[in-house]
Subunit: 346 residues, 4 copies
């Protein structure tokens, strides 16, 4: 059994890790930390876990964490940076669900996150944990920077076109929408049911922290095809609990051939990317609680603009599930171990 | 592997059976019937099942069904009656999720369901599939009448008090609320999102079909303590997808002792009944997609009226999950096989 | 024009007052106070009011408030008590939407609200602002204690039966459910969309602050018929923005006669109580944004238990709308002035 | 009083007309037709109208309709065509909320709506009822083709930029989302609460019927600036009852100047278009039940792509409210008569 430690497990990515790992046949959560909730049973904070865990939150301790085979950070940005050096030095393998090690350019990170980076030396060694792009590097990685939720849905959506250089990268558009769990478990007036229900709005259109991560990822995917890449990214807040839906737009450079076949072939062997039959469009509910990304591609009216729809569960493929997928790859397990159940529907 | 047949699998209890059985290590769905959808892949109708089933709907056929080890009926009332005699005669073991064999008094059934019963001879042999009451009989049963959703939540709520004769049974009250999946997958104006969202209402208060089933079950549980039992049952429609919440009221006969201990002890060995700590009240979301029933009991202000809250997922413990629980018991398997994952939360 | 002052207008009852009064032909909001938001335009805080108000929040000031013809308190409990004496002394007419002056027994108030009452001398002079009971007293009142939301729905539901002494008052039951705006606009984890959506639960069943208010009101209504009155009150949290639905249960003392006629006659002249035709049950959405209370009464199966369903909008008839109704009565206006529009539906 | 007739008033645009006109001081609904519901009180079908109308549905009759001062069609496409010739000949003034007379090119209409046009001769005389563009023509029009919901939100969003020729029209993008009332009141499985709640999806991306209407409108607005105009339009289904949110993307041709000032000036005198302060983005809930369109404009990161967000209530500014706005203009009334109340919030 893989001994798993979770740092900062009181939020939504924490409980999602606990939920997934409760059904994982080869992993066991042996320690979960929280300064605020130290001493409290996890099943007391998360009533869905009653009967599944006999485990209490504890104060974070380097020694205890280093006894784990793998450590997840389910913390706000800034926290993993502060502890990472000593854990890596101690030989730990770490999967960071936060944004701390995703962006390679330190100045860019510091600009968008508004603070000094606490561990710039380790950024270069971190592997960006998008298995569909970096599977080989993940196998031997010591430090995984797990992708953000919007970035996952957008990169997987553009990937087949970008790799082949079929689109004009100078004016890509990503129109995305996220359920309210994307904002985490912090109490806030705008995320009250009374405020967010039965409504819809854009936010962060002037500049969202995920923009530099997405552009970096798209450039990595596109390589030489990505020169001059520029993305307009507008996130929206959905009155749903989970789910990210990205509608992507790009101009085709010329005759792009059979787009449906392109996507089906590229993702034929990916356990967690499902290209829908032509004419079907993905619904967020069909991936709820799963690690699946469902994708459609279409060129409406054959007018030269391609539209891709991509859906994921922001807490699963967009965070904790992708983290477990990375863990499975790191430990040589079946990639979908612990995550093979269908979505709940309806 | 247990070969499972499903009759009428295009509705919500059908897809819920498919979802649960996709993760069941000892059972495999080998046939699923639907006249309307014959020939169509189940994953085409239910996109959450893409990648989980290579199975098409087929026309119902006695011969094919008799090759199964167990047959589920996920049909509207009236359908199972018409096919049951020949299946039972052919040696099949059947779990009927519909109301056809739940009520022992044929005249009562015919009055509430407004039609002639198509198979009255088999009613007496059917076992009412509430494991917390009838576990022993279920083991050897050939025909299981799986309880309704409201009846499950209400019977499990009153059970410990009724068995001990602690409440005045002459004026029991069950105030219940169900998510919209309780109405099935039929197109109807009142169940449109536009009509049911952001609203709440009672319905069927003059007389709901579940009333005679609930009263029969309560009388069975209470035995001599249930003389003169009368229930007022008011169901309500919740703007949620799944979930039943029953708030039950009864007058205590005298000093009932420690209600919390009574419930905890009665359900100590039940895998799917969870009595919450004193002061906690159950939320429907904590049982979503699971077979769990969560219960609280309280005597507000010590005024002699006991209040019980009981929640289940109407499609799982209220239908298909309870069906699988019955199947597990019938085949000597662990009762929670295939249903051991925690609820999704949030 | 009636000059209206609002103390503490940043919450949901505040914006609801502003919304209603924006369409009131005889009243004008001339001052609205908030220490936290002083100087900010109301339309900046409440974007639905853009174009309707050119008014900024100001620091509360006795002098400025005393220039108003009527002052509404839309504050948490405890605030109105602290300012009331000087306002009343200054001749102000006040409509308090909070709980400060609703309960006549000071000790009871202090027990349930957990603090010393700040103005016990004025409690006896306050008129409980339920027009269907106290219309005459309201006309000349100087201080109105506007009823709570649950209390309004429950009192109007039981009223016709209580007045006539037709029910056994020793074990009344009120099973109520409220939308999330009932909890106000405070940031809190349990009221996040992620937590409250797609779920349902009871809360406060051990004892809710509205219980003593409701019982006091029912005793006032029942008079001699209310000896020994005892209510079990269980509130629930609905995944809706607005709306209260109360399902009330009582044992009939004997032959109660024509319940439908009783309710229709009692409320025939009430502008804001609508008794539905027999067989119809009220939906919360049909009263959304209106001051209407819709009621049904039924004796299911003629078994001696009467069931009443009563719905209101918690922010309108349950708070601000009822406040304006009181104001209209106090100033001799048509009772429904400013509140004559139908509900939005769907 | 203006005598108003409504043809086909049983759907959502019908009840929205009735709701608005109930508060209109200069108009009165004197006849409302429905073959299916003839003889039934409107308040029986729409319980929010109880107490507001003493009016029953009647069989459509040319004679009765011709007694009205204005006739609204709130019917599916195809119906108005069949009755229009005789009504126009009889001198009626008609406001058609359906798509029958919106598209000037008959062949285009017939292609997208899949049927022969029933009244091609009158198409040329119909005025497209978008007041912000055609106010003068509306004043004297006999037949108004009221714009669709998506078209209204998209045209008002692009209008200021298009009029000035500031954007590259060859690849406009409209990413829109609508609440479920956009699909009308027909019973259908995909619009059940159980199916549409807590989910999000695109639909009609291969070609939605509103596309030719939108492009025609944009070309009319842009004039010479609109040569070669091409729009990619992707509608999505929101889990909200009402509301349309359009996020529009276009490439700026060069330095476009102060976009905020451009929008504020263009709409300074429009009673139903509200340009939000810079940095604010519109929420659909702030226009719910109102005829308002709220708009924001931004050039993210100053990268040459302009983003416009535009929200309306699909049943009000997107249908019935815009119809009443047209009526007010036609009869020389204040344009916002009957529609001056703020939105409900929260």
């Amino acid at each position: 059994m893989i001994k798993v430690g979770i740092v900062g497990g009181t939020g939504y990515t924490g409980v999602e890790l606990l939920r997934i790992l409760a059904s994982h046949p080869q992993a066991e959560v042996t320690v979960i930390t929280s300064r605020a909730e130290a001493g409290r049973q996890v099943s007391e904070l998360f009533p869905n876990l009653r009967g599944h865990y006999d485990l209490a939150f504890s104060e974070p301790s380097k020694e205890v964490l280093l006894e784990c085979d793998v450590i997840f950070f389910a913390t706000p940005h800034g926290v993993a940076q502060a502890m990472m050096a000593e854990l890596i030095e101690g030989g730990a393998r770490v999967i960071d669900l936060s944004a701390d090690f995703r962006i390679r350019d330190i100045a860019t990170w510091e600009k968008w996150y508004g603070q000094k980076h606490g561990c710039p030396d380790l950024v270069a060694s971190a592997v960006y944990g998008l298995p569909e792009v970096n599977r080989e590097k993940i196998k031997s990685a010591q430090l995984i920077a797990c992708p953000g939720c919007y970035p996952t849905s957008i990169q997987l959506g553009f990937l087949p076109l970008l790799e082949k250089g079929l689109i004009d990268v100078s004016s890509l558009i990503a129109n995305s929408a996220s359920g309210t769990t994307g904002a985490g478990k912090q109490a806030s007036v705008p995320n009250l049911f009374s405020e967010a229900s039965d409504s819809f709005k854009a936010y962060g259109a002037a500049g969202h922290r995920h923009l530099p991560e997405i552009e970096q990822g798209l450039v990595d995917i596109g390589g030489e095809h990505a020169n001059g890449l520029s993305l307009t990214f507008v996130p929206h807040l959905l009155p749903t609990i989970r789910g990210i839906h990205s509608t992507l737009y790009a101009k085709l450079k010329g005759d792009a051939g059979d787009l449906q076949a392109l996507y089906e072939q590229r993702y034929a062997n990916e356990p967690f990317v499902d290209v829908l039959p032509k004419g079907d469009f993905p619904q967020t509910r069909t991936v709820k609680s799963t690690n699946m990304c469902r994708i459609s591609v279409i060129e409406p009216q054959e007018r030269g603009t391609v539209v891709i729809m991509s859906v994921i569960d922001n807490l699963t493929k967009g965070a904790s599930g992708q983290g477990v997928q990375n863990m499975n790859i790191m430990f040589g397990l079946d990639e979908n171990m612990g995550m093979s159940s269908p979505a709940i529907l309806p």
